[in-house]
């Protein structure tokens, strides 16, 4: 299994286009949104300045991009071209493929998080304690597993031409509703009452709590855990279904 994981990692790091998209793009978007913001105005209801707030949003967005976009499309493609079948003729256990894919995504999501942090600290002078930087990195990286599971589920659910639009709709939906592009406090009330339950909102809230030197809220963690169980369970179910009909 390790050999496949190693190869998936090598391939992920070799894919320049995808690396650029998921590593550079969130950092660039951060500069675009937070570029002109001063460092004193607080984002409504958060007690954080816009750059600090958006740093976590964009790091989360970058991680989401890395784990969701890459895997769903690749899994769907490899199911279709028969690579998944070929792997089933090896000693590789069934979970090995999904684990390798997740590892491949995680190795891209980490730099995409770190690059946003570095840009925020260097350009927008975001200052946090050392433990906060570490906790942020860890929380956002670990939280991205929820969406990695979603990516796998989509990869087993959709196929062919459908996988890209489906992924994109979910990707943009999660990004916008979760407040990764703009604080949800700017949304109308009725929408805010919905976005509270969106997993990406809980995901970004993890980081924002850490930035305010708080422990992440139980509700956010609970939401993420529930969605993780849902996505991973769905992925496992779809995987088994796919195996039977393959």
């Amino acid at each position: 299994m390790n050999s496949l994981i190693k190869l998936e990692l090598a391939r992920a790091l070799r894919n320049r286009k995808f690396l650029f998209f998921s590593v550079i793009y969130p950092a660039a978007l951060f500069l675009l949104i937070a570029g002109k913001a001063d460092s004193t105005t607080k984002v409504d209801g958060s007690g954080l300045t816009l750059p600090t707030y958006m740093m976590v949003s964009m790091a989360s967005f970058g991680a989401l991009t890395a784990v969701l976009l890459g895997n769903s499309e690749r899994i769907a493609k490899e199911r279709e071209n028969g690579w998944v079948r070929q792997l089933r003729l090896t000693t590789l256990p069934g979970r090995g493929y999904v684990l390798a894919k997740t590892a491949g995504a995680a190795v891209v999501s980490l730099p995409s998080i770190v690059v946003v942090f570095v840009v925020a600290a260097a350009v927008k002078h975001v200052r946090l304690d050392a433990w906060q930087w570490l906790a942020l990195t860890g929380a956002i990286w670990a939280g991205s597993l929820v969406f990695a599971a979603l990516g796998v589920a989509i990869g087993y659910l959709a196929s062919g031409d459908a996988v890209r639009p489906i992924t994109m709709i979910i990707y943009f939906g999660l990004s916008i509703l979760g407040g990764l592009w703009m604080p949800t406090t700017t949304f109308p009330d009725w929408l805010q009452s919905i976005t509270k339950w969106v997993p990406t909102h809980a995901y970004a809230a993890l980081g924002q709590a850490i930035e305010q030197s708080e422990a992440p809220h139980t509700q956010d963690i609970a939401i993420l855990v529930v969605f993780f169980v849902l996505f991973a369970g769905g992925a496992a179910w779809l995987y088994r279904k796919d195996t039977l009909k393959a």
Binding site: S3, L7, R11, R14, E80, N81, G82, L89
Partner: protein, 349 residues
């Protein structure tokens, strides 16, 4: 010819290699002039004592209302090179999928080396190349082959696998930049990454030109010569004829014929006899000739397919006619195969 005879005898007794090997070597070298006879003899004696490589017992698989495999029973024995032959939709791919555990039978049992297909794969006893088997893209050929080797319990060295599959010179090329024939060779390399006892190939020469195909079969023969059991599905019927010890003809999910290529041809009326007759002749008498499988009389020319051409020709002279321009020719397996299939369809309708 020494090698094929050799490996077959070795494989009859897979658990006693060390003891039997030297003894059998001398026997083979001596009896090499009639390797086919030797093989057949060995097959029958070995069948009783060894676990079949593959055993299908009354296996059925249905998709909706289509019976892809219908009560199929067959056994493959160690060291055989077996061709699985049949038109599209005959159930070849489904049969191989069942054999490899990619699909599960609705009823009946599939055993590989006496275990389930998955257990046989995990034990490293099966290497397979699927028609529908894709490749991981954006990695190099060498990386992919190294992966296949790493995943095989009885792995070979990746460099050797590359060399044997004839892809050492494209080892650094990206998998998604390969031609169809090259990709097939990479698939073959994946199937032969370790010391498997059974190699399964589903239409392996698809997408290859003639010379690539010949080179490929030479490579595959090496696998067989090393004592492996080889099962391949093919559309290239002349390949089954040229390469397989044994041919299984599949039609509508059932086994239509099982024998050597020569036997299959015989079964289908494998020789064509043609001659011209002058003047008046008795058509009914011609149609009543022994061993006929078909007859076509147009004008003065008579064309016959016969399962025993010698006897048929003898009977022609017995009619007291003087056949001119007499020709007796063998049927290719392809025509034999068409004949068997048509006969079967005629029987059913």
């Amino acid at each position: 010819m020494t090698e094929p005879a050799l490996r077959r005898t070795e494989l009859r007794t897979p658990h006693e290699h060390d003891i039997c090997h030297p003894v059998l070597r001398t026997v083979d070298t001596a009896g090499r002039t009639t390797p086919t006879a030797t093989i057949d003899h060995m097959t029958t004696t070995a069948t009783a004592t060894t676990t079949p490589v593959v055993g299908f017992d009354q296996v059925s698989k249905t998709y909706g209302s289509v019976r892809a495999v219908d009560g199929l029973s067959l056994e493959l024995h160690p060291g055989e090179t077996v061709a699985l032959l049949g038109p599209n939709g005959a159930g070849k791919s489904t049969t191989l999928d069942l054999l490899l555990g990619l699909k599960h039978a609705d009823s009946g049992s599939v055993r590989v080396f006496g275990t389930t297909p998955r257990e046989a794969i995990v034990a490293g006893r099966v290497g397979a190349m699927l028609q529908s088997g894709g490749l991981m893209e954006e990695v190099t050929v060498a990386e992919l082959v190294r992966l296949a080797c790493a995943l095989h319990p009885k792995r070979f060295k990746a460099d050797d696998v590359l060399a044997r599959a004839g892809i050492a010179q494209i080892a650094d090329r990206k998998v998604n930049k390969l031609s169809g024939g090259q990709a097939q060779r990479v698939r073959f390399a994946l199937a032969t990454a370790g010391d498997s006892d059974l190699i399964v190939l589903d239409e392996p020469t698809t997408g290859m030109d003639v010379s690539a195909r010949q080179a490929f079969w030479a490579t595959m023969r090496e696998q067989a010569d090393q004592g492996r059991t080889v099962l391949f599905a093919t559309h290239y019927l002349e390949e089954a004829d040229a390469i397989a010890d044994r041919v299984l003809v599949l039609h509508r999910g059932r086994l239509l014929a099982d024998g050597t290529a020569a036997e299959i041809k015989a079964k289908a009326g494998a020789r064509r006899v043609s001659f011209d007759l002058e003047g008046e002749f008795d058509q009914a008498a011609l149609r009543a000739l022994p061993f006929l499988t078909s007859i076509d009389i147009s004008g003065q020319t008579v064309r016959i397919q016969s399962s025993d051409a010698d006897a048929t020709v003898h009977a022609v002279y017995g009619l007291g006619v003087y056949p001119r321009n007499l020709e007796v020719a063998g049927l290719g397996l392809e025509q034999a195969f068409v004949a068997i299939t048509e006969a079967e369809e005629a029987k059913q309708s």
